[in-house]
């Protein structure tokens, strides 16, 4: 089954066409990597898939359902989760609270103006489970302001995983990480079960190529190469556009 299908997607900011007739099919359970030089339109494409930007034309389907005009929050309720290139967390809160907010986002409890959130033990327990899956449960109560960059990256992933997504969009999850931290995140992503389809944007080719099964190369908003790791790496256009050969 196709988890994500993007058809003839176009987006322009004024005269600048940032997404040009992009077509993308990601099968359920697949690990897809989207690469491209800076300004290729990767994050803009992600933002359209996530519903944060409205495409000018084209369609986006998720598990067969047309979500092109669906609000971003509704896509989340359908099983889409994302992380951000620039870490976007709740800096005044603890790590646990950040993950609890992620869980609350999909719960009808979020509208409750009376109950004490701290006493919703099932949410707190699930948040601890999500943090345990990224190896952060031991510092769950730590204020986010006292965490390292690498820990924050893992909090972002924990928040996405806490929502039990069917489709996970990872925007440069290795950005700004040390070699050790990259390896930790890599291992963490490798452990995500196959019922989660992952689409990832990444610049760090070493770790990203190891992770990806299929790769899409974007250049000036256009898909110019798509295929398996070997096909894309061997393609002369990849070397020409991306690797600078």
């Amino acid at each position: 089954m196709t988890a994500l299908s993007v058809t003839n997607l176009c987006k322009a900011f004024g005269g600048l066409r940032v997404t040009r007739d992009v077509n993308l099919r990601v099968e359920a359970g697949e690990r897809r990597l989207i690469i491209g030089p800076n300004g290729a339109g990767k994050t803009t494409l992600f933002n359209q898939i996530a519903g944060e930007l409205t495409p000018d034309s084209g369609t986006i389907e998720m598990f067969g359902q047309d979500i092109t005009k669906l609000a971003s929050r509704k896509r989340t309720h359908l099983g889409m989760a994302r992380t951000y290139q620039i870490i976007t967390l709740f800096g005044r809160d603890t790590i646990l609270r950040n993950v609890t907010l992620a869980l609350l986002g999909l719960s009808p409890l979020r509208w409750n103006p009376v109950i004490d959130l701290e006493r919703e033990q099932h949410l707190v327990d699930r948040a601890h489970e999500a943090l345990a899956s990224v190896g952060l449960s031991h510092i769950a109560e730590r204020p986010l302001a006292q965490t390292s960059y690498g820990e924050r990256r893992r909090v972002e992933i924990a928040m996405a995983l806490a929502q039990s997504p069917k489709l996970l969009l990872l925007d440069e999850p290795y950005a700004g990480l040390s070699i050790d931290e990259r390896r930790d995140v890599q291992q963490l992503l490798m452990k995500i079960p196959r019922d989660v389809t992952i689409v990832m944007i990444e610049h760090n080719m070493d770790v990203a190529l190891e992770f990806a099964e299929r790769i899409t190369l974007l250049h000036f908003g256009e898909v110019i190469v798509e295929g398996t790791r070997a096909e894309v790496v061997d393609n002369p256009r990849t070397r020409e556009v991306y690797l600078g050969e």
Binding site: A50, T76, L101, N112, E118, E141
Partner: protein
């Protein structure tokens, strides 16, 4: 795990218990009706400031139009009482009309955040002021509207200063309890999330606009209640109540006391009401003194009086115990002082 020193929590609880006991017995140890009335004023403005704090502190939405909503409640009650309706009808209608006006304010103002939100609420507040001032056939213009009676719930007259004080105290306590519940609740946590990371909240599945809308209504409800307390306290309402100055003063109460805290707006209301009503009797240039107080607060406690005192207390406590003060962060649903 708590981020506040255990001693601090105990001291805070004891301080709150003593404060509550003092409030409960205030008419007995104050005696003078004038000061009992000043206390009623502090409490009614505290309810107003708490209502505004929902938006300013927890929602990150600075409104300069709340005086309009405050006045709508007062004018509605006054007009209905003048038309011969009973207090119950007038009060319920005032709350309903103010809620409807809050919904209109919210729909228009929530098209924007930040300075845009502030300007739209300011404009809406000024429209209410303009109506109160210019639609003289309805509002009696500059001369304002008088009401002749206060309600007598269960046959109890609220005409005396102590009786009115206890009514105001009861409303204040109910308002405070609902604020505590709201702040600790998932909806309160969601509102704070929309203040800190609206884009992220949207991506997490929250309807950011609707959360803010509900917060506006909640704020509007307690603004209406405080507006009713105001009209019954003064038994008179006129256009200046709807003016920008009222909104600005209430905003000052929230900011000087400490936004996103529950005690902050109460402290801010106390400072402002005491300065306006008590200090002004002794010092002609009381505005200058008030200005100096605000400058001192902003300089030494930019987070506001209550969080500032809390910070200094923690620092002193930790220094006494020879430990480095621990920073505070919210847990799953905690709230400020």
């Amino acid at each position: 795990m708590s981020f506040a020193p255990a001693g601090f929590i105990t001291v805070r609880r004891v301080a709150l218990a003593i404060t509550f006991a003092l409030l409960l017995t205030l008419p007995f140890w104050v005696g003078n009706s004038y000061y009992i009335n000043i206390s009623s004023q502090i409490l009614l403005y505290a309810v107003f400031a708490l209502a505004l704090n929902v938006l300013v502190g927890y929602g990150g939405l600075v409104s300069l139009g709340h005086a309009g909503l405050f006045a709508i409640a007062g004018y509605t009650a006054a007009l209905l009482l003048d038309a011969g309706h009973g207090h119950f009808v007038a009060d319920v209608a005032a709350i309903v009309v103010t809620l409807a006006a809050s919904a209109v304010f919210a729909v228009l103002a929530l098209r924007s955040t930040g300075i845009g939100f502030l300007m739209i609420t300011l404009a809406l507040g000024q429209i209410v002021w303009g109506i109160a001032y210019r639609w003289a056939s309805l509002t009696n213009g500059d001369n304002g509207l008088k009401i002749t009676t206060r309600p007598s719930p269960f046959g109890l007259s609220l005409n005396g200063a102590p009786a009115f004080y206890y009514t105001t105290l009861l409303v204040f306590v109910v308002a405070l309890v609902t604020m505590i519940l709201f702040v600790r609740s998932p909806l309160g946590a969601s509102l704070r999330g929309t203040r800190d990371q609206p884009r992220r909240m949207n991506a997490l599945g929250y309807n950011v606009w609707l959360i803010r809308f509900f917060a506006f209504l909640f704020s509007g409800f307690w603004t209406a209640v405080s507006g009713l307390l105001f009209i019954y306290y003064n038994q008179f309402i006129s256009p200046p109540i709807a003016a920008l100055q009222t909104s600005a003063e209430t905003l000052l109460m929230v900011i000087s006391g400490g936004t996103a805290t529950l005690l902050g707006p109460i402290a801010g209301a106390a400072i402002l009401v005491i300065m306006k009503n008590v200090v002004s009797s002794y010092i002609e240039r009381w505005n200058l003194v008030l200005g100096i107080i605000f400058v001192l607060i902003i300089t030494f406690m930019p987070e506001g009086l209550v969080p500032g005192v809390t910070r200094l207390w923690r620092k002193g406590w930790s220094t006494l115990r020879g430990r480095k003060p621990e920073p505070e962060a919210r847990k799953t649903g905690g709230h400020g002082s």
